[in-house]
């Protein structure tokens, strides 16, 4: 392939990857009243307005809550699960792995519908609780996978060495295994956090009056108000995600685990 065509392919790819991002940033920085591109004059007023919208604040808080506690819960289940799958010769280990991975494969919209139809409605679960459950379930596969891959790099005889030096099995886990998979756990947390925060399809089913995650709230805001503040908010969120992943890569070598 010639040099020129490589540059063209590279340029097109980058345009498709970064183009929408640039459009959103600029659209949010419009001085006009309606969402449009190219922007009609430049101003930061929509970026400022984002912080004054009451529902955005509430939904941002809910999304943060789900992303943080959903991911922590997923890790609380996922770390022991990954450990058990990795260290013990479990019957049905392969099946368990497939089931754990299911939420990655099954479209979120189906997970949301199933949860609504068979759990939320019959059991009369609150919407916040239902959202918490679905976010935990969606993040769990990432938690198991990422933690598994860092457990794979850790030799089992280290734990045996710890036991022979006087540890109980549990102490060997906390004193030797955990410190050595810390990077993987942090990577799993960040990946889970971002996944949960950006989740739309399943949350769509479970959002109710007054209880919405931020992306859902943005959707419904746009149905009523067509001003550039949604674009501004999107840009802020995109920057936030990029910053988190960039920091994670810098601090932990994130890409090793994902």
């Amino acid at each position: 392939m010639s040099r020129l065509s490589i540059w063209i392919i590279l340029g097109v790819t980058l345009t498709f990857l970064i183009g929408p991002f640039l459009i959103v940033i600029l659209a949010g920085a419009s001085a006009g009243e309606a969402l449009s591109f190219p922007p009609q004059g430049l101003s930061l007023k929509w970026y400022a307005k984002v912080f004054t919208v009451e529902s955005f604040r509430a939904s941002f808080a809910l999304s943060m809550f789900l992303a943080i506690f959903g991911t922590l819960t997923a890790l609380l289940i996922g770390i022991p699960a990954a450990y058990a799958l990795n260290r013990y010769d479990l019957p049905w280990a392969e099946t368990i792995r497939t089931i754990v991975a299911a939420p990655i494969i099954v479209p979120g919209i189906i997970v949301g519908l199933a949860l609504l139809r068979y759990i939320v409605v019959p059991l009369n679960v609150t919407i916040t609780m239902a959202l918490f459950m679905v976010h935990t379930a969606l993040v769990l596969p990432y938690a198991v996978r990422v933690v598994s891959s860092s457990l794979n790099n850790l030799r089992g005889d280290m734990e045996e060495a710890a036991v022979i030096l006087g540890c109980t099995r549990f102490q060997a886990f906390t004193k030797v295994v955990l410190p050595n998979i810390r990077g993987g756990i942090l990577a799993a947390f960040i990946l889970g956090f971002v996944t949960s925060f950006n989740e739309v399809p399943a949350s769509l089913f479970l959002s109710g009056p007054g209880v919405r995650t931020l992306p859902i709230d943005m959707l419904s805001y746009m149905e009523i108000t067509f001003d550039p503040s949604v674009a501004a908010l999107s840009a802020i969120l995109a920057f936030l995600s990029v910053a988190i992943v960039f920091l994670a890569e810098r601090l932990l070598g994130f890409s090793r685990y994902v």
Binding site: M158, E160, A161, I164, L165, C167
Partner: protein, 337 residues
């Protein structure tokens, strides 16, 4: 000094439905350096893991220092184990690796410090306290693993293939080191190896294992000079092993008359015990290689392959040419059937 410091009685070890060691009886003397020697899969590592408590015996008992520890968990046995991979803790400094077990005993800090420093000095690692294991060479890592075990003052120190990961020069150094540590501390050492030269050089006594059973037990000298079975003989370098039937050496359908009378069912010769250049038998040279002090021939004879060492003083016989050889009585080792 107890002769039954570690005592394995009717020990049966299995993984799931696979029986690795069907019935083992072994007494290890206090303060000795004993080797469990054998090919991979012979049960030597399994036996070592059982002594350490990492594997619960199916039946039988293990006693250490007069106490039955068969059901005692690994963390309460007072045993040290140096893993083949060293199994150092990568997130801890060399100092903290050595101090790990002492800290678990909740010793006062000053005592932990003193014992750890002494332990590191014993293996010549003073000055390396703040290094991470990954920043140390293979030999240093092994000495660190040794120190980590020794500071716990174990009743028995187990070593899994202690020299196998080291290059030739370090091997010699480590061998001397292990012997010195054993002399200085008097700790009973059990090491596992598949390398007969390692066992011969290091061990007071050797337990030769095959298929989960003890094939032969004796001092290095005894095992080397007087193997009792074909397996032991083969492991100790008697590479020419033949059955004897009615005054003939037999290999498959091939029979050659034996030059002397014997009632032994099996005879074996080292390559150095075969005399080349004269004798009643003849073989065609298949390969010939110079090995420094001698020349190693592989001969095709009516009995099959014969390995023979010849003096370098004699002229080399070219490949393909026939040569006379003898299997003399005085170098023959009599074996059990």
């Amino acid at each position: 000094m107890s002769d039954r410091f570690v005592s394995l009685t009717d020990l049966v070890l299995s993984y799931g439905s696979t029986v690795a060691v069907p019935n083992l009886n072994l007494d290890i003397h206090e303060g000795e350096l004993i080797a469990l020697l054998g090919p991979s899969g012979c049960g030597k590592t399994t036996t070592m893991r059982a002594i350490a408590g990492l594997l619960t015996p199916t039946s039988g008992s293990i006693e250490i220092d007069g106490r039955d520890v068969t059901r005692t968990p690994a963390n309460k046995r007072g045993i040290g184990l140096v893993f083949q991979s060293y199994a150092l803790f990568p997130h801890l400094s060399a100092f903290e690796n050595v101090a790990f077990g002492l800290r678990l005993q909740k010793l006062p800090d000053a005592q932990v410090r003193a014992k750890t420093e002494a332990g590191m000095a014993t293996v010549g690692l003073t000055g390396f306290e703040s290094r991470k294991p990954a920043e140390m060479s293979g030999g240093q890592q092994q000495r660190l693993a040794l120190a980590r075990s020794l500071v716990m003052q174990p009743k028995v120190l187990l070593l899994d293939e202690p020299l196998s990961n080291l290059d030739a020069r370090l091997r010699l150094e480590m061998r001397n080191e292990l012997q010195r540590v054993q002399r200085d501390t008097g700790v009973t050492m059990v090491f596992v190896t598949h390398d007969q030269s390692e066992a011969l050089a290091l061990a007071d006594r050797i337990v030769l294992m095959n298929d989960g059973k003890i094939e032969q037990l004796g001092t290095a000298r005894e095992l080397y000079a007087a193997p009792e079975t074909a397996f032991a003989a083969d492991f100790m370098g008697f590479e020419n092993i033949f059955h004897v039937e009615g005054g003939h050496l037999v290999n498959g359908s091939a029979r050659l008359p034996l030059g002397f009378t014997t009632d032994a069912p099996v005879l074996a010769w080292r390559p150095s015990g075969v005399s080349v250049g004269a004798g009643p038998y003849s073989g065609k040279v298949r390969s010939s290689s110079f090995a420094g002090g001698h020349r190693e021939y592989v001969l095709d004879s009516p009995l099959g392959e014969i390995k023979a060492d010849a003096s370098i003083e004699t002229a080399e016989v070219p490949i393909g040419q026939s040569i006379a050889f003898d299997l003399p009585q005085d170098t023959a080792r009599r074996l059990m059937a």
